[in-house]
């Protein structure tokens, strides 16, 4: 419990600091509150009525299949059959639980849930049937869920699996209410950081469209500084026709300065202006020439869940109910209460299964649009963003530019330097206005940019520093936060250092690793991939293809570990195909091995995307991608056979949702280096740079 207390203090301190420094009450945005779970709350997660148990899931379900893992914990601790426990997704009547972020659900919620279930089990055994059960925590080792034969190590049919394969309604866009209309909020084709508002529109043209209902000026808060114009229709397909007919003219602030992202996110240009302000590793490298000195540039990238965010809103006697696919129903509730001048008791947000989130569905956007349009129309309203809105109005993985340097003496790194310039992640511009970011920049930096920047090696005099720049496009948490890009940069440089030293990359890493769990996954992946053997010739591919094998590893949030080996084939034209991936993964005690594997698989497919395709195009300061053709994601044909091996611990619980992404991209990049002799430094890689000379 000690670790939790420390974290809780840090979280509380942050909110107080920002609030107190602001002194402009009305302008202070609603800040997400993220209390750690305590046992008093956990009582509300599990209930017994008429012989059946209800597990009210204290997490959002977005494909990590946490409903299954936590049900396993409850069933094992209660000592009841699988069928005896019904899982319900929470609404905001539940005591506040923190956002479902950071791969924390098993790490932070499994034990309190087990404690609550143990107390409920004992109370039932003592003959109690009514009232609230007080939870007196017992030692971890006494919890049945985590003992051998308890919850861990099994993979039952996933919760919601049957509904998914039969098409039952689960997602927010599946909600239908009597009399429901369909809404959309139009916004200017301008950067979200540039003030814009509708000036005039052709209402007569809209009135001629069958199914048109209304134009709504009071359509909810701005997104960034983009104010919208709402429309309501009887059928969803009418919305696009109305938007076109209205031909809205926009007032767009011409004085707003839009800086070119490639000029702002340029580590060398930034270093030329002076030292980076935030320190992750505080060593002082000795001056002199570097053996490794590489610059890596990683662009803006979308979360691109297949489900564009959606919400259904309905008002009843001044109270608001919203169905949402959100990672933080409580934050959405708080923003809605603030926006519509309601008490939090007057707003209920029902969590629905989320069709992919990856960190992107943590803010309140479409929910406020639906609520405003429903209020204006006095009927229930459904709003689902278009794919173009997802790209234009969401926040994204920030672009980052890295310079990584290493000096190698007698096979060991003696000096290390890593400088990075990126944009904000934890203090996302999607929530924090510029003045607030100036405060957080001054006092705190941005832990999201810093995440994973502390290389997991003994590197002598090691320095790592960064800066975060506010951009015209909103950036924020994206699977792994900074750890994905930082891992790619670090693992690329370590590989170059091994080459400079003339030492095998596995042996070189092991010589610099002091953490036994990291060494463990490295040795395990070397074993399953038969490291040291040349990569398998790529079956069916042309003989002129070059093949290569790469290795990388990493630690996520100091709690979970992964090592990855990648094989690639590179065509004469420089096209890269990943032909096989192996991953060894250690997140401690595993509740559901199959779903931990599934998370590793997902992370590895994301790793392929990070190296080969992720890129969100921006022109004149705004995202111009409108479809998946403009911002492609990995396909089946990009995905090779994947082998995942789990190193399983006995007691420690940690996370799996974002771990392998710290190692996968580096392994693929290193395999490309091995195949071609060229170090990939600009991502996604341009095949032309890896083509054979004609």
């Amino acid at each position: 419990m000690r670790r939790r207390d420390i974290l809780a203090l840090a979280g509380g301190g942050l909110v107080a600091l920002v609030g107190a420094g602001a002194a402009v009450g009305a302008l202070v945005p609603v800040i997400p509150r993220r209390p750690l779970p305590d046992l008093a709350d956990a009582v509300g997660w599990i209930a017994h009525r008429d012989g059946r148990f209800t597990l009210t899931l204290p997490r959002a379900e977005m494909g990590q299949n946490i409903a299954t893992a936590l049900k396993q914990v409850a069933v094992a601790e209660l000592g009841v059959p699988w069928e005896a426990v019904e899982v319900e997704l929470h609404d905001t009547a539940l005591p506040r639980v923190r956002a479902t972020v950071g791969s924390e659900s098993v790490m932070q919620f499994a034990e309190p849930l087990a404690q609550a279930c143990a107390a409920l089990r004992d109370a039932l055994a003592a003959g109690r049937q009514q009232g609230l059960v007080e939870v007196n925590p017992r030692p971890f080792r006494e919890l049945r869920a985590f003992q051998p034969g308890g919850a861990s190590g099994t993979s039952p049919e996933i919760v919601h699996g049957r509904e998914i394969v039969t098409g039952e309604p689960l997602y927010s866009a599946d909600v239908r209410l009597p009399g429901m209309l369909f809404g959309r909020v139009l916004r200017a084709p301008a950067p979200v950081e540039t003030a814009s508002r509708p000036r005039r529109w052709d209402i007569d043209a809209a009135l001629r469209i069958p199914g048109f209902v209304a134009v709504v000026e009071a359509c909810g808060p701005a997104i960034g500084r983009a104010r919208g114009l709402g429309i309501l229709a009887e059928r969803p397909g009418v919305l696009a026709a109305i938007a076109e007919a209205l031909a809205v003219e926009w007032d767009i602030d011409k004085t707003s300065r839009v800086r070119d992202i490639s000029q702002v996110i340029d580590i060398d240009a930034r270093l030329a202006k002076g030292a980076l302000p935030h320190t992750v590793l505080d060593g002082t490298p000795e001056p002199g020439a570097w053996d490794v000195d590489i610059r890596l540039d990683i662009p803006l990238a979308a979360h691109a869940p297949i489900e564009p965010r959606a919400a259904v809103a309905s008002w009843d006697a001044g109270a608001l109910k919203v169905w949402a696919g959100t990672q933080d129903a409580f934050y959405v509730r708080d923003v809605l209460a603030d926006a519509f001048k309601l008490s939090t008791e007057q707003v209920t947000v029902q969590s629905c299964r989320i069709g992919g989130a990856f960190g992107g569905k943590t803010i309140c956007t479409v929910e406020a649009e639906a609520a405003a349009l429903s209020k204006a129309g006095a009927v229930p309203v459904k709003v689902q963003w278009t794919r173009a809105q997802e790209f234009a109005l969401g926040f994204h993985r920030p672009p980052s530019s890295h310079r990584v340097q290493a000096r190698v003496v007698d096979g060991k790194v003696t000096d290390w330097g890593h400088g990075q310039v990126s944009s904000h992640i934890l203090f996302t511009a999607a929530v924090a206005p510029a003045w607030m970011q100036r405060g957080t920049d001054l006092l705190l930096g941005d832990g999201g940019v810093a995440r994973g920047m502390k290389a997991p090696y003994e590197l002598g005099r090691a320095q790592a520093r960064y800066d975060a720049e506010r951009l015209s496009v909103h950036t924020g948490p994206w699977r792994g936060l900074g750890a994905g890009p930082n891992g790619l940069a670090i693992e690329s440089a370590i590989d170059e250092a091994a080459l400079a030293a003339g030492i095998d990359p596995l042996a070189f890493r092991l010589a610099h690793v002091s953490d036994v769990r990291l060494a463990g996954v490295l040795r395990r992946v070397a074993e399953i991939a038969e490291w040291g053997r040349p990569p398998a010739p790529s079956a069916g591919l042309p003989l002129r293809n070059r093949t290569g094998r790469g290795l990388a590893c990493g630690v996520y949030k100091e709690t979970s570990y992964a090592a990855v080996v990648a094989d690639v084939a590179v065509t004469p034209e420089g096209q890269v195909k990943v032909t096989k991936l192996w991953c060894a993964h250690d997140c401690g005690l595993v509740i559901n091995p199959d779903q931990v594997r599934a998370q590793c698989e997902g992370n590895l497919v994301w790793s392929i995307g990070m190296v080969l395709s992720d890129n969100l195009p921006v022109e004149a300061g705004r995202v111009v991608a409108e479809t998946f053709a403009d911002a492609p994601i990995p396909r089946m044909s990009d995905t090779p056979p994947i082998v995942v091996d789990l190193v399983v611990g006995k007691t420690t619980l940690s996370g799996a949702g974002e771990t392998a992404i710290v190692a996968g991209p580096g392994a693929i990049a290193n395999a490309i280096r091995a195949a071609t002799g060229q170090r990939p430094v600009r991502f996604p890689i341009d095949p032309a740079g890896f083509a054979l000379a004609p």
Binding site: I158, Y171, R235, P305, F628, P634, S637
Partner: protein, 151 residues
């Protein structure tokens, strides 16, 4: 106007004729299995089977389904009597978020009806157009092979 929906005639309301087939299914009929993902036929989350052919329902005008046979995931099997593809999908625990999976399943069903024993290349050619951001592709491949064995 009518179509044959999962084996039974169903009228297409006059004012829904200019909607997409996807909207008609989801919002007029309340069949929530097929999903909106991109609206331009790229991602495949809206895939249904029209006259035996896997079809992107987000780019088909509802009125153009007049007289056609439309099969959605709701018509495949019931929770108690699942279609072999649905069974295989559960056995392989394919879904992560699950949002694209109805489209993937309908595409797999159409493939197996045309090609009961597809090669790995057949599977990849047929399924490559359906996107899954969670990255379940390896399990989709495995589930299709399992479905072949179950059928």
């Amino acid at each position: 106007m009518f179509l044959i929906l999962n084996g039974a005639p169903q009228s297409i309301p006059e004012d829904w004729a200019d909607e997409t087939l996807l909207s008609l299914l989801r919002e007029a009929y309340g069949l929530s299995g097929a999903k909106f993902g991109c609206g331009v036929g790229i991602c495949g989350a809206c895939t249904v089977i029209v006259d035996g052919v896997a079809t992107r329902s987000c780019v088909v005008r509802a009125g153009d389904a007049q007289g056609l046979t439309v099969r959605t995931i709701e018509g495949l099997g019931s929770a108690e009597a699942l279609h072999p593809v649905q069974q295989a999908w559960l056995a392989a625990a394919v879904p992560q978020c699950g949002y694209c999976q109805a489209g993937q399943i309908m595409l797999a069903v159409a493939l197996l009806e045309q090609t009961p024993r597809p090669s790995a290349t057949d599977v990849e050619t047929a399924l490559d157009g359906n996107l899954c951001r969670c990255g379940t592709y390896e399990r989709i491949r495995a589930a299709i092979q399992q479905a072949v064995e179950l059928s």
